[in-house]
Symmetry: C2
Subunit: 162 residues, 2 copies
DNA sequence: TATAGTAGGTTACTATATAACATTTTGTGA
DNA sequence: TCACAAAATGTTATATAGTAACCTACTATA
């Protein structure tokens, strides 16, 4: 992992804040952040890079010191997705923590192909514009996915181009 | 397949025009539209719904009257993708014919969850705006994916909502 | 404490995609 | 027209992603 991903920010802060938000949300909604769900969320928040379901599976198996089966992970992922605690990156079959789970929002993801970090942009002006253009086509949108692949600012600065 | 997908348009026209474009492009670029590539393209153009790689695999196996293996299909798909003759829908692991392969463009896909038809919108104004917003983040974009799930105009008209 | 609802375990399977290496076909220059 | 290299395809095996179905255990609450 390139160093800049952790520079200029206390990532333990990211993790604990994500877990705190999750607890608040679950309390508010009367749903349960069970041990497994919490563990999966914590694993996903190990970095600002996305995790695949099988990465999580391996990690969870290690933590539990026994083989965990896919459904266990997928159920936890479904729960976290349903409650907006994580997002799924369609173009990479991977999952990433949401950095604003308490406020409803539409996201655009910037995926760096060098350091694999993912940045989540919220409610960009173009979202409304896109929704409107789509509406004018007579299309009734239920979900909009925007994912941008490229090179992040830090990697560009370091002369990366892939 | 709901009827409206074929109404008001001669789909044989779509197919033959797609094949003709592909031939032109290959001629121009000095690359080859081999039998397999042509067959795969034709299979993909059987409708305005996306095909999965394994749909294509089955179809191709039938046509060739012998088992075709996955790499055969994936190689053809890679060729067609590289040359802009088809697009990949990331959110459904599926492939669809490009309706304007001769002109470079950025696309936005409207995916109907009722009739499964996919419409390709080109170079919408928001594209430039999005590119600019992303650029302002210092991010160097290489590829933008926009996919919208919802219900198409025809299905809405027929009272569908899923 | 019955009992309904929710969460998790287990097994088996389906779906999507690629690696690695062999063979065939095609184009090109000697 | 033969030799050779490049491109395309065949073949086998495997990696990765996700789900169905059924069972067990826990939890709330009447
Ligand atoms: Zn962080
Ligand atoms: Zn978010
Ligand atoms: Zn058509
Ligand atoms: Zn196109």
């Amino acid at each position: 992992m390139p160093h800049h991903i952790l520079k200029d920010h206390d990532h333990n802060q990211c993790i604990s804040s994500a877990l705190r938000s999750a607890e608040d949300i679950c309390l508010q909604r009367g749903i349960k952040l069970t041990q497994i769900r919490r563990q999966v969320l914590e694993i996903i928040w190990q970095g600002h890079q996305p995790s695949t379901a099988y990465d999580i599976l391996d990690c969870l198996s290690q933590q539990q010191n026994k083989k965990v089966a896919p459904p266990t992970v997928y159920r936890a992922l479904d729960f976290l997705l349903d409650n907006g605690l994580i997002h799924r990156l369609e173009s990479m079959n991977a999952y990433i923590g949401c950095d604003a789970p308490t406020t409803p929002h539409q996201s655009c993801f910037l995926i760096c192909s060098h350091c694999r970090s993912v940045a989540e942009l919220h409610d960009m002006p173009i979202y409304a514009a896109l929704a409107e253009e789509v509406r004018q086509e007579g299309f009734k949108a239920k979900g909009i996915m925007i994912e941008v692949k490229g090179v992040c600012a830090d990697c560009v600065e370091q002369g990366q181009s892939a």
